[in-house]
Amino acid sequence: MSVQVASTTGKDPQKPARVFNILPVAIAWGVMLAFYVSLRLYQQAFAFKFGLDSTSPDFEIYWKALFKIEVPAIFGIGAVIWAYLWFTRDRRINDISPGTELKRYFTLIGWFLVYTFSFLWVANFFGEGDATWHQTVIRDTALTPSHIVLFYACIPTYIVVGVGTLIYATTRIPAFAKSYSVPLLMVVVGPGLILPNLGYNEWGHAFWFTEETFSHPLHWGFPVLGWTALAIGGVLLQVMRRVSELFKVFTPAASLTAK
């Protein structure tokens, strides 16, 4: 899916340019899908085979090793992405043309496509997968095979994308550089706080064996922080208002009067 821009204003370059390129989004989706499917297959192969006893040598090899690799790897990749976005920021953000601004809004929606896709795997697929594990197996560690995938692979992944979305918006789009968007901050920071909320979760489970009750108050922090994603409605409103104005810039007056 790509759309060609035929510029109608003097500020834009005359040569046609794409408003939106789906390819980077498709690549990100593909990489994530491959990553998540690989983790699921890894669980299928080794979760019940080597993941039931956290004191066994096999657990150390198959599960703790995965944990030790994935956390620095994901946050390392995230740090590179965040640094790239920051150091390549637009230092003349007020001077960008309407065409460039429009393209950046479309790219921001592309970031949201990747962000919501990555959040989906936590909220839905691996989230209830964790319930499957805990309703079946009594935990003897915080680093269960389901947690190592859900909490320490999937959540860091969407944090990387979410923070990347925030940095992209702030460093490329004038409206987000001039003002902090409260709904955008909520959409990124709220779900991101699920990771530190794990501290409360694991601390509580050290006292109470409550996994059999997934809706125990100990777990309520997760949905409450998930609710903050509703604020994407506010972000979309901010985006749509400006995009509508930009569309008008590219609409010749003649096309509005001709009948």
């Binding site: 899916m1 759309v3 035929a6 408003v19 939106f20 699921r40 299928q44 019940f48 007020n94 001077d95 429009l102 479309f106 929606i109 592309g110 949201f112 496509l113 919501t116 896709f117 959040f119 989906l120 936590v122 909220a123 839905n124 989230g127 209830e128 997968g129 319930a131 499957t132 594990w133 309703q135 197996v137 009594i138 460093t171 550089a177 001039k178 902090y180 968007s181 409260v182 709904p183 059999e212 009750t213 997934f214 809706s215 309520w220 997760f222 949905p223 998930g226 609710w227 994603a229 509703l230 409605g233 506010g234 901010q238 749509m240 569309f247 008008k248 609409t251 010749p252 096309s255 009948k259």
Partner: protein, 267 residues
């Protein structure tokens, strides 16, 4: 392009190019919205009501009937508010129910059956599709969230158990098991024990509700209706609040990082 198309574009204030970009933008937003609706509906349900829906033998007449609709109407109302406030689209609740249905079947198949090897008959999910469609229907006709909350919330609670009965009635048939009266769902549960859900902590049918001369289901249903009305109103307001496009001006030093002069940035 027909004369009719040109007139539509003229009224919309768009040229052919911008109309095409606008349509592309719509498609992208639809995908973002679909992912988001599924994710938020699911995480809300999973950790507030999931236990009563994981297993067929947990779908009792006391808690499941009350808790499931109360929790699901939260996001149904919130997404109705988002879709109606931003786009005047009356299908937020139905979208929530439909996408939830897709997600829940995916997980029940892949995780419960695929990884833990429970039979699907033990983990059949409930649905709130009928109640969601009624909510959207009432919003479409009334165009008023208060009316939708009052009548839609009531019907959402009432229709939940009835609309799920078709699926679950076979599992609630009485059978004799080792001289005891059980339901078929219970027997399936006995065959597939869950180490994390010992029998003594099952949160089903506590108290004396069952002594209400065979009316326990109706008592639960009407209690659910009552709470659904207020839950709908609360979550409509939260959904509408989520659509506020508030922003806080950044500081002068922050603006300088992007080459903006403080005075210029306030333009």
């Amino acid at each position: 392009m027909t004369e009719n198309d040109r007139e539509v574009l003229r009224v919309a204030g768009l040229s052919g190019d911008t109309a095409r970009w606008s349509r592309t933008f719509d498609y992208l937003i639809i995908v973002v919205a679909a992912f988001l609706v599924l994710a938020v509906t699911y995480i809300n349900f999973l950790l507030l009501a999931g236990d009563w829906d994981f297993f067929t033998d947990f779908k009792d007449r006391q808690y499941w009937v009350v808790i499931y609709p109360i929790v699901q109407i939260m996001m149904a109302a919130a997404f109705q508010a988002v879709f109606w406030t931003l786009f005047r689209l009356p299908f937020g609740a139905t979208a929530s129910a439909f996408l939830f249905g897709l997600g829940v079947w995916l997980v029940r198949y892949h995780s419960w059956m695929g990884m833990a090897h429970f039979p699907l008959t033990l983990v059949v999910p409930g649905t709130f599709m009928v109640g969601a469609m009624i909510l959207d229907g009432i919003l479409t006709v009334s165009r008023a969230w208060l009316v939708t909350g009052l009548f839609g919330g009531t019907l959402f609670g009432i229709t939940f158990y009835a609309s799920n009965w078709i699926v679950f009635a076979p599992y609630f048939q009485p059978v004799e098991n080792m001289g005891q009266l059980s339901s078929l769902a219970d027997v399936i549960g006995y065959v597939f024990p869950r180490a994390g859900t010992p029998e003594y902590i099952r949160i089903i049918e506590r108290g004396t509700l069952r002594t209400f001369s065979d009316s326990s289901t109706w008592v639960s249903v009407f209690f659910s209706c009552f709470i659904c009305i207020f839950m709908y109103m609360l979550w409509w307001l939260i959904g509408a609040f989520a659509c506020k496009a508030a922003s806080v001006p950044t500081g002068d030093r922050f603006k300088l990082l992007f080459g903006m002069k403080p005075a210029e940035a306030t333009k």
